[in-house]
Symmetry: C2
DNA sequence: TAGAATTATTGATCTATATCAAGCCATTTT
DNA sequence: AAAATGGCTTGATATAGATCAATAATTCTA
């Protein structure tokens, strides 16, 4: 289980973490198992964790006044999932996080993360690269949502995250793209024809 | 000029940078002046700088096939402006960055930033907090663009960045929100009536 | 300060996408 | 195996917002 996180740290930082340093990482995390449809975070509560997905699939979403779900992010193997806003500012979250498949996670808290960052330079480096990449990806997603048509949005998703397209049901992909399931269905149909 | 950056570092990190440490910061930056409509970055070139706005106003935008501009970000006093994707991955930028008003900047390069981060712990901390905040803000903007109506988007902008609304022409605000100037004009009219 | 350029408003259409509704699969549950 | 549930498709219709066009207001600039 933990070797998945170890691989990830090595891959992201282009380094090799030592056994000694990795012991600190090990100590900071706890295993957690979620069955399909189980919640990790409910709207209104403060997100006190960061978690790393070992296997399975999750989503982070908001439910609006009309009861519509808007998916903010997906996570699968070797992705982090958390509400970063709530986590860093200790404000109540506007989001739910739940499992789309049975999922195994490594979970840690703010305090653990903070002391881990002091003890493991490589973990710290990983955290920064993660933030940097997250921002770059998010900014591209903003561009896609403000400039693209429904069809272009879906094509962009297939190009940037083909795994999501295979892994998540179409209605959730639609929600992630900010279009309706019906529109996505029609977009796919017309793309197949080409 | 430099004291603006100094204030910023202190404010963001909730600390006070020492004279000695700040000397490294000073050494890493160069002043640059742009007249209204002058470019700092052209699409196609690699963004080799990060810059900090002392005063003035700037924008980062993409021009699509049809010639439509899509504004990715705005910057005014005490904001950073750069194409982070191009900057970190050394890939050609898809964006233009230009001045909306006469602007004074502090500019630095990748190499300078990297060695500065090694020499100044507080600058390093600032950089990380900046990334973290940028990601959180960008993720919220994603949510707004996928879930909100034109009116809600504008209200959200007024709430989160009222300065932008005062500072940038309406057609640019519309572009930033992913709606047309005509729609924004009508939205504003109907909001005034309320 | 006049003329040019840019930006904002308003009205008349048009269109991409949403909404509503029904039926069909494919899984899961009993 | 029947029933229930969740997801996907397809068709008919509605609508938010885009587009087109013209005018008005504002701000450059010579």
């Amino acid at each position: 289980m933990l070797h998945s996180l170890r691989n990830y740290i090595n891959r992201i930082t282009s380094s090799t973490i030592s056994d000694e340093e990795f012991k600190y990482v090990e100590a900071a995390f706890k295993m957690k198992t979620l069955k399909k449809r189980q919640f990790l975070l409910h709207e209104g509560s403060v997100c006190k964790f960061m978690s790393f997905i070992i296997n399975g699939a999750m989503r982070q979403y908001h439910i609006d006044d009309k009861g519509n779900e808007h998916i903010i992010s997906f996570g699968i193997e070797e992705w982090w999932i958390s509400d970063r806003g709530s986590f860093t500012n200790l404000t109540p979250s506007r989001y739910n996080i739940d499992a789309i498949e049975d999922t195994n996670l490594l979970v840690t808290t703010r305090d653990e993360i903070n002391s881990l960052k002091e003890r493991s330079p490589l973990f710290l480096k990983m955290a920064h690269i993660l933030d940097e990449n997250s921002f770059i990806a998010s900014q591209k997603r903003v561009e896609a949502t403000i400039s693209y048509t429904a069809e272009e949005k879906f094509i962009y998703l297939m190009e940037t995250n083909p795994v999501f397209v295979k892994r998540f049901p179409q209605n959730m992909l639609a929600s992630y793209l900010g279009i309706t399931p019906e529109t996505l269905s029609r977009v796919r149909k017309s793309l197949l024809g080409k």
